[in-house]
């Protein structure tokens, strides 16, 4: 009962509030801009109407007007905005009219989640283990070499890393495909051949994401464990002749992992933004690529939809991690 009152309920309240705040920001900020951006967006779309599908433009303008209710009072606009969102209606997409935005997002979402969730979690685990080892056993030559590589990889801008991998492994050494999520024309089905195809296509983007993820986690973990190593309880354990391996895995790693769990939560939040360049470089059919096409085509409905859904998805993911936290941290369980 205490857990529910002191831990669960505050987290749930925070979840609802942050989600509300995020979506409200999406509503408010366009209104704070000096020139009315929706108005100018509508004007741009109407001006393009001559050589674009007029029905698409009209539909687009209608949803924008409806969603933002440009003529109505502010409160009324806000309410109608929410009503549309809650019914999952973001209007039709502009560049692939008349497919609804929600359907396009639904198609891309599994790709992004599959690629990013796996790489984020994997690189978190690997980076923490290597970082922990190299922070604890500072004398080891192999680990020092690894530290050096990480120092070099860490500051490389992401798109450079991605491009380098494409040139190396798709162009010079044609081991992996140039891009895409699966071979064009392949039947999407749960057969072994298709899964193998998907994995082959996902390899390079996953590698590029993991390399950077491992580097970041490695370095933070190394710093944390160097601090933990100086704590008194580690000294006592050493004096009491507890086996070095036990000290490392049971005492040092376990305590150092706690701040890293918060780090994992934050990097889950970055999933949607971080994927953009990856997906452009590898033309991977996820949310990032969809977003890119939306920007290129000024598809405001689609961008709105992606942003709103991402806010909900991220806050939910973080809620889940938060709720799992007591499993790792005994201090929270007994407080």
């Amino acid at each position: 009962m205490r857990f529910v009152r002191r831990y669960l309920i505050p987290r749930l309240v925070q979840y609802v509030l942050v989600t509300w705040l995020g979506i409200t920001v999406v509503f408010v900020i366009p209104r704070l801009l000096p020139s009315d951006p929706i108005e100018s967006m509508v004007a741009t779309l109407q001006a393009q109407g001559a050589y674009r599908d007029p029905a698409a433009v009209k539909q687009m303008v209608d949803t924008l007007r409806d969603m933002y209710g440009l003529e109505a009072g502010l409160l009324e606009q806000y309410l109608s905005f929410w009503k549309r969102l809650l019914s999952g209606d973001f209007g039709p997409s502009y560049f692939s009219f008349p497919t609804p935005v929600i359907e396009l997002i639904g198609r891309s979402f599994p790709w992004t989640i599959g690629l990013l969730l796996t790489t984020t979690v994997l690189s978190w685990i690997i980076g923490n283990v290597t970082g922990g080892l190299s922070g604890y056993f500072t004398g080891n030559g192999m680990l020092k070499i690894f530290d050096g590589i990480v120092m070099f990889v860490r500051p490389i801008p992401y798109y450079v890393l991605g491009l380098t991998l494409v040139i190396l492994f798709a162009y010079l050494l044609p081991l992996f495909p140039f891009g895409g999520g699966y071979t064009i024309g392949a039947q999407i089905a749960f057969t072994w051949d298709f899964i193998k195809d998907v994995l082959r296509h996902a390899f390079l983007p996953a590698l590029s994401l993991s390399l950077l993820g491992i580097a970041v986690n490695h370095q933070t973990m190394r710093l944390i464990i160097q601090g933990v190593k100086e704590e008194d309880y580690i000294r006592y354990a050493k004096i009491a002749a507890v086996k070095e391996q036990t000290i490392f895995s049971r005492y040092a790693m376990r305590n150092a992992l706690l701040p890293q769990i918060t780090g994992l939560t934050l990097s889950l939040g970055q999933i949607f933004g971080g994927a953009l360049i990856t997906e452009i470089v590898f033309s991977y059919p996820g949310l990032g690529f969809l977003l890119y096409r939306a920007v290129v085509n000024s598809d405001y409905n689609l961008i709105m939809g992606i942003t709103t859904i991402s806010i909900v998805a991220i806050t939910t993911l973080i809620l889940i991690v938060d709720l799992l936290y007591p499993l790792f941290d005994p201090r929270i369980r007994f407080r």
Partner: protein, 284 residues
């Protein structure tokens, strides 16, 4: 001065500082450029590097070396401006939240948590798309500055929270020092180094963000920045046409810039954390 000398003893910091200095010199060179960076076809097109054009020329008929000096200048100016804006917000929020505590602290931290959790990048893309026509260096700096302070405000707050528990705070309060004076005269000294490290990290974030936004076409490509140079090179298919110098130049310079900023911030943060410093020097 003493701090600087001690920092320079760290090889990584000095390397970063030297690279940063070279880049700043490069940016200053732009004031002596013989060409106007916005004008096309001032030199022969697609020339490989030579004595006359040290980094070659591009398909727009611009000299890449001189173009680069403008790009570094604009990218640095953007980064400093945006980072300064977000520093003002982060320091204010951090100091006020950390010192006042209570309901004000809760509200401020709730807002900054919200900013941390939200897909900021998507929101930035959305806003950049809305102001696309009015996009210039100042507006971009405002956009990135107003949205990029949350994490640093948290760091500063936690520093203030620990300062509040120190002896000198109690002495100051008991002897009747007003809060404003305490914060500005005493605390700011302790918070300053932290502000500096976060400033450098934030600059790297801003430069990376600018490049990303430029690559997807949301900045003004007529203003030469690192992102704009890359975007032109990519959209003219420089790689496929074999104009490697065109795409390599901005990439090499941005890597140098990121590495320099990273090393400098690493040097400072190790200097700030004596535990790490002791381990580096090897004193036990």
């Amino acid at each position: 001065m003493k701090t600087l000398r001690e920092l320079l003893r760290d090889a990584r910091f000095s390397l970063g500082a030297v690279v940063a200095l070279v880049l700043i010199l490069l940016a200053l060179l732009s004031f002596f450029s013989p060409y106007n960076p916005t004008e096309w076809r001032v030199v022969p097109r697609d020339m490989p590097p030579s004595w006359k054009h040290p980094l070659g020329t591009d398909s727009k008929g611009q000299d890449i070396f001189w173009q680069m000096t403008f790009a570094v200048r604009n990218s640095l100016a953007l980064a400093i401006l945006a980072a300064a804006i977000s520093r003002v917000i982060a320091v204010t929020v951090g100091l006020v939240a950390g010192y006042s505590g209570g309901i004000l602290d809760r509200v401020l931290m709730f807002i900054s948590d919200g900013f941390l959790v939200m897909p900021l990048f998507l929101i930035i893309v959305m806003l950049a798309m809305l102001v696309r026509e009015h996009m210039n260096t100042v507006n971009l700096a405002l956009l990135l500055g107003v949205l990029g302070w949350a994490w640093d405000a948290r760091l500063i707050r936690s520093q203030v929270l620990s300062l509040r528990e120190r002896e000198f705070t109690y002495t100051a309060i008991l002897s009747g020092t007003p809060m404003r004076k305490l914060i500005f005269n005493e605390y700011s000294l302790f918070v300053m180094p932290l502000v500096f490290t976060t400033l450098i990290n934030n600059m790297a974030w801003v430069i990376g963000m600018e490049i990303t936004l430029a690559l997807i076409g949301l900045t003004n490509p007529d203003i030469p920045t690192l992102g704009a140079m890359l975007r032109w090179a990519v959209s003219y298919q420089a790689m496929l046409l074999g104009l490697w110098w065109w795409i390599l130049a901005p990439i090499a310079i941005s890597i140098a810039l990121f590495v320099a900023l990273y090393l400098v911030s690493l040097g400072i943060s190790e200097y700030l954390d004596p535990r790490a410093r002791i381990q580096r020097v090897g004193v036990r």
